[in-house]
Symmetry: C4
Amino acid sequence: MTVIDLEHLARAQQAIVEAGRELHAAGQVPATGGNFSVRLDDRYMAVTASGRHKGCLTPADIMVTDFAATPFGSSLKPSDEARLHGQLYEDNSFIGAILHTHSRAATVLSRLESSATLWLSGYELQKALEGVTTHEARVAIPIFDNTQDIAALAEAVRTRLADETCCAYLIRGHGLYTWARNMTACLRHVEALDFLFECELALRR
Amino acid sequence: MTVIDLEHLARAQQAIVEAGRELHAAGQVPATGGNFSVRLDDRYMAVTASGRHKGCLTPADIMVTDFAATPFGSSLKPSDEARLHGQLYEDNSFIGAILHTHSRAATVLSRLESSATLWLSGYELQKALEGVTTHEARVAIPIFDNTQDIAALAEAVRTRLADETCCAYLIRGHGLYTWARNMTACLRHVEALDFLFECELALRR
Amino acid sequence: MTVIDLEHLARAQQAIVEAGRELHAAGQVPATGGNFSVRLDDRYMAVTASGRHKGCLTPADIMVTDFAATPFGSSLKPSDEARLHGQLYEDNSFIGAILHTHSRAATVLSRLESSATLWLSGYELQKALEGVTTHEARVAIPIFDNTQDIAALAEAVRTRLADETCCAYLIRGHGLYTWARNMTACLRHVEALDFLFECELALRR
Amino acid sequence: MTVIDLEHLARAQQAIVEAGRELHAAGQVPATGGNFSVRLDDRYMAVTASGRHKGCLTPADIMVTDFAATPFGSSLKPSDEARLHGQLYEDNSFIGAILHTHSRAATVLSRLESSATLWLSGYELQKALEGVTTHEARVAIPIFDNTQDIAALAEAVRTRLADETCCAYLIRGHGLYTWARNMTACLRHVEALDFLFECELALRR
């Protein structure tokens, strides 16, 4: 029998609703882009349903799925990319929340950088990322080529992240995935990374 | 006898008032630029009157005209470009709403691109446009040279769009026209297209 | 005996307070930059006192001076540049309101353009400027070198504008002066000109 | 016996809370970046505790320390960089408030400028800085290389500022420190300096 803690689910939904409002106001999720999730336990997550505008979510727009993205107790369709969230929760027990955003800087920088890694260094704000303690560190952000085959992309991410420590990756011409132990820390990752991407774009001009 | 459904008109006016507030806040309609419409039936549309500031419209600023832009039951003057809206409704029965905006990116990019088509490809956010299902598609946005002769421009649009499938066009140094089945979808088109125009400008630098 | 219509003054003060709020929110008057005025009659104007933050003006921050910038019935110090407002009212009886703003685009473009005139053409939004009816017009915006000698600057403006029709001028590295028959039209000039300056900067890159 | 004026402390905390809200809205303190202080007397300051998000501070997030950054009557941890505030208060009795911000322009410009000084000249808005009376002045903003050794940085600042008059310095790839007689004047410094940094970046392109 599957049991979901309903109070936990309600808090997760509320955290996602508020994250959507903040991220839309910050220009991180234009049109109906982006998707967000919170881990419920070791098998289930709360995740945004497909096609919702992220600036005006309600709890009813946030559904429960397992990590394979199969809906649980809901007739809604999850975001196409829900499996990318599930892969991260499966492989990393510390992850409590995941945000996928589509900023201008992430979109442009991931196309300008033709290699498979964006390197960031020399920025004090790197320290806002979990595990980074100095501006002298070189922070690697893996870049994956975009594809509409989400299952294949999830496998590519799994393979690469087995060997690399990071707190975010980019999909080329598409956007950012970042994760943290909870939603508050994850929102700070988005804020810091987008700042760093904009600085990096300006420095490359 | 001409009958307009007054409830339908009131909903159309309300949708246009709210779109104006959202688009002005997003910097899409500086000064009194831009004009917006909603289809009422197969002969009439609700359209913004000339010269109104789009950030603070009231229902009284939105009038009824036929598709030739002749006012119906109103002494207001319609937007000069109302005929461009009428042409699109005449030729495309699926269109329910049309937005014309003047963003910086649309203005600049349409001048930098000297050919008659802006091509977009490789962006995930293309999928926010109706009919586009992959970032691998090449999306064509026709560009027309600007003119103060609106009747001639409407004919040029009619001729070109008879042969091309698209959901938007640009007028050079002027702005964007985009359309969709309803106002919500049309607002998403503006949001997605302006994002793509800004990315494209940044990539071309 | 000098008589000021107090109701007229109260409306002028209110218009200036609201303009300040709108222009500060739009990034047009950083720090305590900028100054604003409304004509009261053929000898007096209401003008912002020196050093006020324009985002949070109250009616008490807006004083009466004559066109030589001599205070009338107030112990406040007018903006250093009040004489530039007075000169325009003296020479142009149609002017009802004047706004001086300090945007990034006006500051940068007036330094990049080394000649004495910024020419704008090919933009539909030119039509938001009083007297411009087509994008095909070439709109001249005079540029004056900056100086701390305001009396000399006022004379230089007077001399040049005797021969040229325009609705705005730039002071190099400093900002924009624009005027219109009333405050609403003048705010639209600021909005349109700053849009055009940003487009022009982007096109020149 | 140490006596802190509790009404003074409450006003200082309120000023810092409001500064945080304004600066976060203006994009000056992404993630949990930045730190702020107000002088209490000739030995103590009120300063932000470590790791707080600056957009939603409460008085409880603002603690008392001496100028060596030793907490007084609080179990909170002060910002790592509190000693940089203390050094400025120790050496300059006129300073009433200090703001440290992390804007994109400050971060990028301090990396692009490889020398030890950023020079600003030709901008009218320079006059918003205390002690600057003309656009013809050359304003020096010292730049220090970033380091995680705050004590060493405080000494480097002390040594250099003993010989130079300025109202702000930059830390490379990190951000801005600026100070003034009170918080209102200090907020105007941030607003003016960030404007000037953005203009300077645009001019260098």
